[in-house]
Symmetry: C2
Subunit: 341 residues, 2 copies
């Protein structure tokens, strides 16, 4: 039975130039809306979290619709269709997409995808959706791996980084991950099969990169920025490709603040290597989404890609769950279990 009233988290502040605070969000009640023509009503099983959500709240990401104060906090989710007024969905289907932070989402079917068979509810958001497309497209279309390449990933134990490393192994790369703490590093090497890991909290990144990448870095996949990016630029191989996918070291600072990590002084090594730095903007690769979705689903089913999620529980904990990303507390995809479906 679908209830008449549900809970939502609304945007109450713009965290530009600072860390997220609990007062940036407001818990509210709202009616569960019956779907209109072309819409689907889904019940949320899991919400998925991404550092980019903070920039959405700031209206700093040009590819997103502006976010209003008082509007439902945008975010991805996976759940079960309750009612449908679109021919592609029937009640009981598992669907994922942009739900927003709410227990029941009444959304256009065009913004949803049906989960493929053989993929668990929590794996959907870990390996498919925006995370999977980002990892697959940024690595394959921007990084352009060639078997034998040395691929180094920062933020390697996060949702995107840990997937990029697994895709790099499938593509025949030597994969080195940079992550915070021995537990994450052990997971990368022992479970995911990375060829090496650097614990940036306890090791010197630049000298470890020298040891682990004697022939230089062919692809650097950056989720962090700051000194880690600068250290990687010092070790580029000729014609290296640097993929800028994220920069979590920057997201809590104002661009003019002295705390904002400096730009990469070593960018000039590009001239000595003929290397490239490119930003990954997902909408530029829209025509490749079906390729990404199909290959990822296949690799999950055949066990070549291992989903892993850090699962928190309770809808009321959504803001705290988002904050975990900025504290580096998650291993794998950060999820919140909203309902046991």
């Amino acid at each position: 039975m679908t209830p008449a009233v549900q809970r939502q988290w609304l945007v109450a502040g713009r965290p530009a130039g600072r860390a997220l605070e609990p007062t940036d969000f407001r818990l509210a009640e709202a009616p569960v809306l019956a779907p209109g023509e072309g819409q689907v009503l889904v019940r949320t099983a899991y919400l998925g979290f991404d550092p980019a959500q903070k920039s959405w709240m700031e209206n700093a990401a040009s590819y997103m619709e502006p976010v209003e104060i008082g509007g439902v906090m945008p975010g991805s989710g996976v759940g079960v269709v309750q009612e449908s007024r679109h021919p592609d969905f029937v009640p009981g289907d598992v669907a994922y997409g942009h739900f927003g932070w709410q227990e029941f989402a009444t959304v256009p079917a065009a913004g949803l995808a049906k989960a493929p068979d053989g993929v668990s509810l929590s794996a959907v958001l870990s390996v498919l959706g925006g995370t999977g497309r980002t990892a697959y497209l940024a690595l394959m279309k921007v990084g352009k791996p060639v078997a034998g390449d040395t691929l180094v990933i920062s933020g390697a134990a996060g949702a995107t980084g840990s997937l990029v490393g697994q895709l790099g192994k499938i593509a025949g790369c030597r994969v080195i991950g940079i992550a915070g703490g021995p537990e994450k590093c052990a997971w990368l090497v022992d479970v995911l099969g990375f060829d090496g890991a650097i614990d940036y909290r306890n090791e010197k990144v630049r000298s470890r990169l020298r040891d682990l990448c004697p022939g230089g870095i062919d692809i650097f996949f950056d989720n962090v920025g700051g000194e880690i990016l600068n250290d990687a630029l010092a070790r580029l191989a000729p014609r290296a490709r640097v993929v800028i996918c994220g920069g979590i070291s920057r997201y809590n600072f104002d661009p003019r603040s002295p705390e904002m990590p400096p730009g990469p002084r070593n960018y000039f090594n590009l001239v000595f290597t003929g290397a490239t730095i490119q930003g990954f903007l997902m909408p530029h690769y829209e025509r490749d989404y079906p390729e990404a979705d199909a290959r990822l689903a296949d690799w999950i089913r055949t066990g070549r890609v291992q989903p892993r999620a850090d699962i928190q529980t309770g809808f009321e904990n959504a803001p705290a769950t988002l904050m975990r990303l900025f504290e580096g507390r998650n291993i794998g995809k950060q999820l919140l279990k909203v309902a046991d479906l």
Copy 2:
């Protein structure tokens, strides 16, 4: 008559992390050597100067043979063949290439090229050789201009920059140059036909870029680095290409010095635009040299490219002439007339 003895400038210091000083060079006399098998003896008419020569003295450029203290200062030249033991050259030919700073160069024919008909001696080094190849290949193969693109060039009144702007016009771009002082800016617009110029010494680069590039920058061709690069990164159009060709704001500083210009903080705009920053390393484009040479020679002959040089005189002034580049005093290619041939 070829004399028995000539003058040479030898490398006497390594100017790493500081400005060039007169004591980094030593004037010496040396015998004029008869050419061996496969070699050619040329008399130098002009020496050509490039900021990269400072990095050669520091052995900081991985693509160059190491430079020894006490060795002849490396550099390009154009002159007239006096004796030849190679079938491609006969006395009287105009040849250019790596002469080193000497009045007579006895060098392998493989390192020389014959000047095409219809190109004056001073134009050879201004528009052909390393300068022409750099401008043509870095713009066409890395910048990849599309007619209608907005092309912005830093160091626009220098040898490479002024040529890049002219090639950009031929390719159908809107061309904006950034240069120091009203005289250089007037030359870019009034003589070379640039669509606009920004005097970085007297104008705010970032706000002028906003005015002059309302649709953003499609190609930024950088010879300078520092704040100018950072300002350009703030104005990138979607899928922009940033070509790192040089960074003259950096060449006098140690990487660890507080005076070294910071890295470009705005690099993260790459993520919002899907833009690319690529370093230009000429040897990676060796197979395209004949294409560059042929098109440039044709454009000089047909007047579509105007060579301009700042010509100093007197072999004894070679070090001071190199230093002019770092003082921003040259308009066009910096040359030194060594002999009136």
